[in-house]
Every structure is written in structure tokens, then in C-alpha cells.
């Protein structure tokens, strides 16, 4: 699946988008998997309460299942307007 990052999450991870091969069942599982791979993920995902997640461009939550999802987005709380 594609994983995309915005704002300081993007800056900490160092790329705006990447393809990830994963069998993670939920967003939380994906976060754990990525955090275990490299320190930069662990740093970006250290406080999930300051993160938001969207699945296929719809706001979602960390317990949501990933089956069938093509794009996962991680970002801080939005500051539009």
C-alpha cells in the first residue's frame, strides 16, 4: 500500500510518500511495524495522540482495519482556515 506523510510527520520520516509491503491488520499494527524498522518512524509515531490518520482519503482511527486500503496518510491535527 501507499503511505503518505504531511507536515512534521513528513519532515521526521524524511519522505512525503512511500510504498510499504505489510500484512498489518490495523493502523496500530502498521505503526508498530514501521516503528520497529527504523528510528525515524519510532520518532514520528512516538505520541499517537498528536497524530491523525486517513484511510483512502477519509479520516479514520488507529483501530481501523487495513484490509483493502490503498493509501494510508499520517499527519498532525489539521490547521486549516
Amino acid at each position: 500500500m501507499d503511505v503518505v506523510y504531511f507536515a512534521w510527520v513528513r519532515e521526521r520520516i524524511g519522505v512525503p510518500r512511500e510504498q510499504v509491503e505489510s500484512e498489518a491488520a490495523t493502523v496500530t499494527d502498521l505503526v508498530a511495524e514501521l516503528s520497529a524498522r527504523e528510528e525515524r518512524y519510532a520518532a514520528a509515531f512516538s505520541d499517537l495522540s498528536s497524530l491523525r490518520v486517513a484511510l483512502d482519503q477519509e479520516l479514520s482511527d488507529f483501530e481501523a482495519p487495513l484490509a483493502g486500503v490503498r493509501e494510508v496518510a499520517f499527519f498532525p491535527p489539521m490547521t486549516g482556515g
Binding site: A7, P77, M78
Partner: protein
């Protein structure tokens, strides 16, 4: 209903006139325009607005459609810019039109509250001393959603 996500500026007067000319049977038109203001501590050089292109248009349309249905609006307009903006530049605007003033005001405030906290934009302040920082979401802004 019109929702536009764009890098270029917009003409507040022309947008207001165009919106007012398109609606009929209404008694009240409200516009809100957001402007880049200086940082609270001063010294803002620019505001960089990042967004999530694949999601933004869809998210704004959903917010505008919800406002339109909830307050029986004759029409609603949302324009939101991204990219690098200087202090004093206009970031975004919304417009609402309804039979009664209370509905037009409430719908405009609803749009703003949801744009603030549910539209995929992030702001970075670039300061004169070389520092730069992402604008934190305010607890107030999140709390504002609970009134709707």
C-alpha cells in the same frame, strides 16, 4: 455550491459579487475571509500552507454539503489556498446565503470551525530570525466542533 483549492490569490470583491449575484430568494449573505496575520510574537516572513491534494477537495465538499443541508442554504462557497503566503495575504474565504441572518451566520461559523480542524491543511510559520515552526492545532478549535 463551489469549492476551490488553489495556489493563486482570489479577488474578494469579485467573489462576493459573483456569489451574491448567483443566489435568489435569500435575505442574508455572510462572508468570512481569513488573512495571514503576523505571528503572536511578531516577525513573520511567510506562512507555508501544505495540504493533502487527493483528500482536500473531497473533504471541503463534504463539509460544505453538510452546512448547506443543515441550514437550508441557497448556496455556499469555499475557497482555500495553499503554498507560500506573505503576511496580509488572504488565505481563504467562505460565503453562505440563507433566508434568515441567523442561519447564514451559523453556517459560516460551522464552515470555519470544520475547515480549521477537519480540512487537511497544515501551516508552517517562517520567521525573520530564521526559525520555522508548524502551527499547533488549538484545543479551542477542536472544542468549537462540539457546539454543532
Amino acid at each position: 455550491m463551489q469549492v476551490r483549492v488553489q495556489q493563486e490569490g482570489f479577488d474578494l470583491g469579485a467573489e462576493s459579487d459573483g456569489f451574491a449575484a448567483r443566489v435568489s430568494g435569500v435575505g442574508a449573505i455572510v462572508t468570512f475571509t481569513g488573512v495571514v496575520r503576523d505571528a503572536d510574537a511578531g516577525g513573520l516572513v511567510a506562512m507555508e500552507i501544505e495540504h493533502y491534494p487527493a483528500m482536500t477537495q473531497k473533504a471541503l465538499e463534504a463539509i460544505a454539503a453538510e452546512a448547506r443541508a443543515r441550514w437550508s442554504l441557497a448556496d455556499a462557497l469555499v475557497i482555500h489556498r495553499y503554498g507560500r503566503l506573505a503576511p496580509g495575504e488572504r488565505i481563504m474565504m467562505v460565503a453562505t446565503a440563507a433566508r434568515h441572518r441567523k442561519h447564514a451566520f451559523e453556517a459560516a461559523e460551522y464552515l470555519m470551525d470544520y475547515l480549521k480542524s477537519r480540512a487537511p491543511f497544515w501551516k508552517k510559520e517562517i520567521l525573520t530570525d530564521g526559525r520555522a515552526g508548524w502551527v499547533d492545532a488549538k484545543a479551542d478549535d477542536e472544542d468549537a466542533l462540539s457546539r454543532w
